[in-house]
């Protein structure tokens, strides 16, 4: 689309009353024409649909702080849990090694070099 679309045409575009080729032509034009883009943005801002997107209560500062504090606490707890599991795993392995070593002593394992006094 080389010439500017009329305001009626842009209104039809905003209301999704154009066919796909009409939409494509307008979208391509808007990507290079800031004056038409401004008109479209103003038309869109006035729509009920845009108002419903904005119709959300304000997030209070106290709520944002509470969320962040709880989140940090939860992340730290999870990290602590992970570390405890890791320590527990290492502890269990060490314990098994201590308990099993007398039975399967390391000097009996094939491939290990034996210490000789001579």
């Amino acid at each position: 689309m080389t010439s500017h679309p009329t305001k009626d045409h842009l209104e039809d575009f905003i209301a999704d009353r154009l066919d796909e080729s009409g939409n494509v032509a307008i979208i391509e034009h808007l990507s290079i024409c800031d004056s038409c883009l401004e008109v479209v943005d103003q038309l869109w801002v006035a729509t009920d649909l845009n108002q419903s997107l904005l119709n959300v209560p304000d997030l209070k500062e106290t709520a944002t702080l509470r969320m962040r504090r709880n989140l940090v606490h939860r992340i730290h707890l999870a990290e602590l849990g992970r570390q405890m599991m890791r320590f527990a795993g290492v502890g269990v392995l060490s314990m098994m090694r201590v308990l099993l070593e007398p039975i399967f002593g390391s000097h009996n394992r094939p491939g290990l070099k034996e210490d000789h006094d001579d």
Binding site: I14, A15, D16, N23, I26, I27, E28, L30, S31, I32, L37, V40, W44, V45, L49, N50, S52, L53, L54, N55, V56, P57, L59, A63, T64, R66, M67, R68, N70, L71, V72, R74, I75, A78, E79
Partner: protein, 198 residues
């Protein structure tokens, strides 16, 4: 790096710092939370319709994001990735809530169940509030369209900022926002016509 400097970094740079420093330094992730918390809360509110419920979900979303950060490859923008986690978390929560009473109903007998299920579906489409409709329609958008719409129309960012945050050119950002608006209108129309999800 000082905390003031973190505010100047892009999302991707903060993600890289999080990966590099891991559990040793929370500040880069905290900066990401500060930056996107309000937007995530808003999406949760669309779905949950209650401020406190939305708060709980926000914590779940960022907790999952923190856990999933090592796998984030940056193919989409951080915000788009976060939006996907948000929508999935909200959907899972709503699904769990609708499942809970269903367990009780099963005990009442098999005969009642199909009738109640049919009523439930009917109510889902006929008695939907504007907010619920909007949440379902937003869910039907492509993730990058959803993010573009959110950045431009909800957060009133300039097209230059939208482009920078999505990692695309300005003209591509302008086109994406227009496409998103059309897609949202189309999705709402399909819901109102009773077509539901495609």
């Amino acid at each position: 790096m000082a905390e003031a400097d973190l505010t100047e970094l892009t999302d991707q740079a903060l993600v890289d710092l999080c990966k590099k420093r891991g559990a040793k330094d929370d500040r880069p992730f905290e900066e990401l939370v500060k930056r996107h918390q309000a937007a995530v809360w808003r999406v949760c509110y669309y779905f949950m319709g209650d401020a406190l419920d939305a708060e709980d979900i926000v914590q779940d979303v960022f907790f999952k994001a923190h856990r999933g950060l090592p796998e984030f490859e940056g193919r989409a923008s951080f915000r788009t990735w976060l939006n996907q986690i948000t929508i999935n978390t909200c959907k899972n929560e709503l699904r769990m809530r609708t499942r809970r009473p269903a367990v009780v109903e099963e005990e009442l007998g098999d005969v009642r169940e199909p009738i109640e299920m049919a009523e439930g579906l009917d109510q889902r489409w006929q008695g939907m509030t504007g907010r619920e409709e909007l949440a379902l329609a937003l869910e039907m958008l492509q993730p990058d369209q959803f993010t573009a719409l959110q950045l431009r129309d909800v957060e009133s960012r300039s097209y230059a900022e939208v482009a920078q945050m999505l990692g695309i050119s300005q003209s591509a950002a302008k086109m994406r926002v227009q496409r998103a608006r059309l897609a949202l209108r189309g999705a709402l129309q399909r819901l109102r016509d009773g077509g539901g999800m495609p």
